[in-house]
Subunit: 262 residues, 2 copies
Amino acid sequence: MNKPIGIFDSGVGGLTVAAAIKRVLPNESFVYFGDTRHSPYGDKSEDTIRGYSDRITDFLLAQDCKAIVIACNTASALAYTFLTQKYPDVPIINVVDPVVAHVGSKINNKVGIIATRATTKSGIYRKKLRKLNAKLQVVAAATPLLVGVVEEGFTNTKVSQGAIETYLGSKKFSDVTTLILGCTHFPLLQKEIETFYNGRAEVVDSPELVAHYLKYRLAQTQLLEASLMPNYSFYVSEFTDNFNRVAKMFFGEDISLEEKML
Amino acid sequence: MNKPIGIFDSGVGGLTVAAAIKRVLPNESFVYFGDTRHSPYGDKSEDTIRGYSDRITDFLLAQDCKAIVIACNTASALAYTFLTQKYPDVPIINVVDPVVAHVGSKINNKVGIIATRATTKSGIYRKKLRKLNAKLQVVAAATPLLVGVVEEGFTNTKVSQGAIETYLGSKKFSDVTTLILGCTHFPLLQKEIETFYNGRAEVVDSPELVAHYLKYRLAQTQLLEASLMPNYSFYVSEFTDNFNRVAKMFFGEDISLEEKML
């Protein structure tokens, strides 16, 4: 059947998820949509983010996508339930649930979450973790500057180090045993954050967990592809120099973009 | 007549200009519009920014504004000429020209400009400075992370210091004699940047220069106000926690917001 997987994000961050899907599911094709015209989602309202997510999902389904991956924590937090209700026949995966399933089963755990303002405000991780394991201690903080630090290529500098220390050096975060990277930009800071915790906390990012969960869902619904010639398409709602510049950093290789205003 | 001045920006940064206008023109009323729904403008295209600027100007004129201040470097760079052509009877002030007039007349000067990506790409400062003084040496760099540093309240930390050193420590910038802060967020970093240059460069920001130029233009067109009861209104295209949080930092006092989607 060779139908692609649809993946979307507010911009470039979801490419870390796309890259993991390419590694874990090397036979699958995908269509990626980065909503650069409306990026970043992190400071926008629930209604606005639902509207954008709906239009993008509609576009991806029109491209014959067999499943949708919301590769953006903010849209996962604010638009996932809406999308599953509107498109009940399509497997829709968010980036929150696989992480919650991985982390929530551990006992005696203190979990920290760092994310955008909108994701943090939604309380999505806290609610889902507590539902799974009421004994978990959960702390969360919005760390929006880390998004810019990554996009500007300021990883492994005094800037990234200072921002990580300021955000995570608080008493609230210093004794967590698990830290969830609740934004698809943050895998690029994973090693530095691990260095900061120096083995005291497990640092969990979503791309690999999401890719494995997607594999399971596709197998379950008999949608796995055996194609040896997968095809990758990348759309943005607005060409930006920035997307071109950082896409390789996030996806691991050069990509060619098409512009599609929705 | 008591007509207000219309001031707009992509978000909160233009409040530094509004604050300067309040100081320099204490009798004038103003209506401020922060386009938070579409913020930031810095990575968007020329057409998109013109469209937003046009809708906002239209709204401000419908509020009976007698003059328009584009309190955003990106919109000044990309939409000013368009707006002056579309609204030829309204005094329209941008934040670039007063700075160019101040800096361009100096001889033997090497001028550096730091700004958003869109402003930098437009080359607006370079073009206007060179037109005024063909002998000027001009260097420019996009420093988008400094916007986030200011909005996150990371001024006067290792993070701001590291970002300033990384952006301005290059050979290109180390020997400038004047540095233009080409973004309305950057006045909040002025002292740190002055410390970095340690007297070797004059650091020029726009708010005071723009307010004084506005005063001159209003006097010239007999539009100066003598009211002793000025009135200030603040609109945003979308309520965001962030705007509320940082508005005081930029404007210097609490403000009350109305939401107006355009």
